[in-house]
């Protein structure tokens, strides 16, 4: 088992796997996004209260899911990278961050656009929106740490600490913001023990869009990871040329 993980964790092996998976992920992203948008914008009914503005939900809600999912992936990769010092885990966490930040930003902007027709204002300090806003700053902090440290392996481990501390704070932040203000959102309505309470014509585009986002994420993260490895190889080659390494010789 451990051997299998190391087999896959070898950057060379990653390269060949990534080359095969990226086109597949890209194609899935295009197809899923096509179907998802078709169902979201055309083949689903308008809401009897919100009208057509409900369609923003199909872009907004999966983006918010992705914001959480990407941060969780970062946290898992960070823990893996911190304990086993594995470059693939480090690079996965690093490459996920900007993508997660963009999904978070998308969730904030679409939430704000959705807020105008439903709440009558571009921004309401709704608890969920507020937690997502704070999550966005957690992403920025994590990215800034990577930017501030030149030594990649040190950056990976310090960023991992930042990521995990942020991750264990996410539920605390969520709890505090909920406490801070009773929400304007309805209670969770998709994942419930007694089954989803929204109509299946709305669920189809919601899940298609979520799958499309995941495919987009997979595609982008693999490309970004390949770039990162290429950059590191290049840096190693350049460094090898210019800087001699010292050793000790007795007199």
């Amino acid at each position: 088992m451990a051997a299998a993980i190391y087999e896959f964790a070898n950057p060379q092996r990653f390269e060949t796997v990534a080359q095969r998976v990226i086109p597949f992920a890209a194609a899935s992203a295009v197809i899923l996004l096509g179907f998802g948008l078709y169902f979201a914008l055309i083949a689903s009914p308008a809401d009897y209260q919100q009208g057509d503005s409900v369609r923003i939900m199909y872009v907004h809600v999966p983006a918010a899911w992705m914001a959480m999912m990407c941060y969780s992936i970062m946290a898992m990769s960070s823990i893996t990278g911190f304990i086993w010092k594995h470059p693939i885990a480090d690079v996965a966490a690093k490459s996920t961050a900007p993508i997660g930040a963009v999904f978070t930003f998308l969730a904030l902007v679409t939430g704000s656009l959705w807020g105008k027709p439903t709440w009558g204002a571009w921004w309401a300090w709704d608890p969920r929106l507020t937690s997502v806003l704070i999550l966005f700053f957690l992403y920025l902090g994590y990215i800034a740490i990577w930017e501030a440290i030149d030594d990649k392996s040190r950056a990976a481990r310090i960023a991992a600490i930042v990521c995990v501390v942020g991750f264990i704070n996410v539920p605390i932040i969520k709890f505090s913001v909920d406490w801070w203000k009773r929400g304007l959102h309805q209670p969770a309505s998709v994942l419930r023990a007694d089954g989803p309470s929204i109509h299946s014509t709305m669920l189809t585009p919601l899940f298609l869009m979520a799958l499309a986002y995941m495919a987009i994420y997979a595609c982008l993260v693999l490309i970004s990871m390949r770039n990162e490895f290429a950059e590191r190889r290049l840096a190693r080659l350049e460094r090898g040329r210019e800087e001699p390494v010292s050793t000790v010789r007795a007199a």
Binding site: D151, K152, E243, V245, S246, T247, A251
Partner: protein, 213 residues
Amino acid sequence: MNAPPKIPPEPAAGAGLIVRGLGAGRGGRPVLAGVDLDLEPGTATILRGPNGAGKSTLLRAMAGLVRPTSGLIAVRGGNGGLRENVVYIGHADAVKAALTVRENIDFWRSMYGARTSLAPEIAERMRLMNLLDQRAATLSAGQRRRLGFCRALVSGKPIWLLDEPTSGVDAGAVETIIREIETHCQMGGLVIVATHEPMALGNARTVFIEPAR
């Protein structure tokens, strides 16, 4: 003047240091590779090399402050590992300018917790007695360097790693420092001095740090 009660210096345990195939870096760039050293208790070693060759990196690695990228560093004999046996005094020598000489020494004493001489006696040995209650901010560069060196004396550690201990120090004070190093070696201690210029340390072995191959 009341002489402080004299507590005999803790006998330095016979701890040696072994370095095998050590590689270490600075800021993610490799600086050292394939370093092998065998250092016996009771000896002094001068580590010479130009600026930037990796003297400080090697000392910091041996002090357990820099994680080696390859190879190993081990203490032979003595009790415990690097942390229990090694004291490192770098360019930044941990002197707090706002504290007096005595307060600096007392702080280190309580940090290391070794049963060593008290601050006045340590200061006397480093010829800082008349400055005991002056703030470190008022010391000259050489006096400050000597104060930094006091940390080795109060640490109670058998292995001293000294980074340019005599830079900016006048000839008389250099002698004081050399005498302390020699005394420490006679008591079974082990001293490594990194310096970019020669140093008149009797019986010391000199090793050079230079580009590999």
